[in-house]
C-alpha cells in the first residue's frame, strides 16, 4: 500500500494501523479503562433520578445550556477576577467590570439568538404525519420542510429533536458571528463603563 510522489514513496496505510498508531490506541485504551475502573458503579433505582435524566435530555437545548453557562459564569468568572492578586487593585476592578459585562452581554444575545433559531428550525422541519395545534396532520410544503432531512424511515422523535437543536445552534453561531460586532461589543463597552462607574472607577474602556 504505497504511493509515489516524485522520488518519495508514501505509505497509504491509515495511521491507526502503523505500529505507533497501534501503540497510541492501546495506551489510550488502557488509560480509559483505568479511569473507568476508578469510577463507582451505580444502579439508578429512584424514579425521580430517572425522570431528572429524561427532563435534562428533553428540555436542555443549546439555548438553556448557554443560559446555565452564563449564570454560573457571573459567580465563578467574576469571583476568579476578584481573587486575582497578581494585578493592582484598579486593574482588578476594571477586569471584574469587563468580565461581568462580557458575560451578561454574551449570555443575553447567545440565549435569545439560539432560542429563536431553534424555534425557527422547529417550525420549518415538518415531518410526514406531524400534527398541528388542531390535531390534524400539517400539510407539508417546500417552506415548512426546508430544514427536514431526507430519511428512509421516520426518525425517532428524541433523535429528531436533537437534530433540530443542533442545526438551530449551528445557524445561531453563524448569526452570532455578526451580532458579536453589532450587539455584544457595544453592549459590553456600555455595561463595563456602567459597572466601572459604580465601582468608583471612571476610566473609559474600549472593547
Amino acid at each position: 500500500m504505497h504511493g509515489q510522489v516524485g522520488n518519495m514513496r508514501i505509505s497509504r496505510r491509515p495511521i491507526s494501523s502503523t505500529p505507533i498508531g497501534r501503540a497510541a490506541k492501546q495506551f489510550s485504551k488502557s488509560v480509559g479503562q483505568t479511569v473507568l475502573n476508578a469510577m463507582p458503579s451505580h444502579i439508578f433505582t429512584s424514579e425521580r433520578a430517572i425522570n431528572t435524566f429524561q427532563k435534562i435530555g428533553k428540555y436542555i437545548t443549546p439555548a438553556e445550556n448557554r443560559l446555565i453557562l452564563g449564570l454560573s459564569a457571573i459567580f465563578l468568572q467574576v469571583g476568579i477576577d476578584a481573587m486575582n492578586h497578581s494585578v493592582d487593585e484598579e486593574t482588578r476592578k476594571i477586569s471584574m467590570a469587563r468580565t461581568a459585562a462580557k458575560v451578561i452581554a454574551g449570555t443575553l444575545t447567545g440565549f435569545a439568538i439560539r432560542k429563536a433559531l431553534i424555534k425557527s428550525v422547529d417550525a420549518f422541519s415538518v415531518l410526514p404525519g406531524t400534527l398541528g395545534k388542531n390535531g390534524k396532520p400539517i400539510r407539508r410544503t417546500r417552506l415548512n420542510t426546508f430544514f427536514s432531512p431526507v430519511t428512509k424511515a421516520l426518525p425517532d422523535s428524541d433523535e429528531y429533536q436533537n437534530y433540530k437543536n443542533g442545526l438551530g445552534n449551528v445557524l445561531a453561531l453563524i448569526v452570532m458571528t455578526f451580532t458579536n460586532f453589532a450587539i455584544d461589543m457595544p453592549l459590553t463597552r456600555f455595561l463595563t463603563n456602567k459597572f466601572a462607574e459604580k465601582g468608583g472607577l471612571n476610566n473609559e474602556t474600549s472593547s
Partner: protein, 213 residues
C-alpha cells in the same frame, strides 16, 4: 453538468443528513462540536476586530494579534479537552453499563452479560438485541450526555480558562510595565554584580497590604 442551484440544494441536503446522523444520536457530541465551533468563530471575530481596527498602531498590533491568538488557543483547547473528556467518560459510564437503571440491569442479567460491565470494549448499544432495551437506555443516555457536557463546559469556560487567562495576562502586563520602566530608567546604571531587572525590582519593592503573616 448540474446547474448551480441543484448543486447547492444537494449540498444543503448532505449537510442536513450528516447532522441528523451525528447529532441525532448523541446530543452531548452536538453540544461539544457546536461549542467548539462557537469558540472558534468568536475568537476569529476578536482577532479580526484587532486586525481591522485603524485606531491601533501597527507596532501594537504585532503584540495584540499573537496575544488574541494565544487567548483563543487557551479558550478552544481547554473547552475541547475538558468538555470532550467529561462527555466521553459519561457516555462510557452508560454504554458499558456502569451507570444503569434496574431495567438495564435485568436485561444484562437475562443475557448473562453482567461480567462485561465496566469493560471499555463493551457497548450495550452494539448488542444484537439492543432494541429490547432501547427506551430504558435512552431514558438516561441523552440526559446524562447533556449534563456531562454542561458540567465540562462550566469547568473549562468558567474556571480553567479564566484562571489561565489571568495568569497569562498578568505575566504580559508585568513584561510590558518592565519594558516601559526600562526605557524610563535607561540613564540609571545598576550596581556592579546586580542585574538591571533585579535592581529595579528591589528598588520598587512595596509590601502588599493583603499579605498574610
Amino acid at each position: 453538468m448540474k446547474p448551480l442551484h441543484r448543486l447547492a440544494s444537494e449540498f444543503f441536503m448532505d449537510i442536513k443528513n450528516s447532522m441528523m446522523r451525528s447529532f441525532g444520536e448523541d446530543p452531548g457530541k452536538m453540544l461539544l462540536h457546536t461549542g467548539t465551533l462557537g469558540w472558534i468563530l468568536s475568537s476569529l471575530a476578536q482577532v479580526t476586530a484587532v486586525v481591522f481596527n485603524d485606531k491601533i498602531p501597527k507596532k501594537q498590533k504585532t503584540f495584540l494579534i499573537p496575544q488574541e491568538i494565544a487567548d483563543a488557543a487557551i479558550n478552544i483547547g481547554s473547552f475541547y479537552i475538558f468538555t470532550n473528556s467529561f462527555t466521553k467518560l459519561a457516555n462510557k459510564m452508560v454504554s458499558t453499563g456502569k451507570w444503569r437503571t434496574p431495567a438495564i440491569d435485568a436485561f444484562l442479567k437475562k443475557y448473562d452479560l453482567k461480567k462485561h460491565i465496566g469493560s471499555i470494549d463493551f457497548n450495550i448499544k452494539e448488542l444484537a438485541n439492543f432494541d429490547e432495551i432501547r427506551p430504558a437506555y435512552k431514558a438516561i443516555a441523552s440526559g446524562n450526555a447533556i449534563a456531562a457536557s454542561t458540567i465540562g463546559s462550566i469547568i473549562s469556560c468558567n474556571i480553567v480558562t479564566p484562571v489561565l487567562r489571568n495568569k497569562y495576562a498578568a505575566h504580559k502586563q508585568k513584561v510590558a510595565i518592565a519594558r516601559m520602566e526600562a526605557k524610563e530608567n535607561a540613564a540609571i546604571q545598576s550596581p556592579k554584580g546586580v542585574s538591571m531587572a533585579t535592581f529595579i525590582r528591589n528598588a520598587q519593592y512595596r509590601p502588599r497590604s493583603d499579605m498574610k503573616i
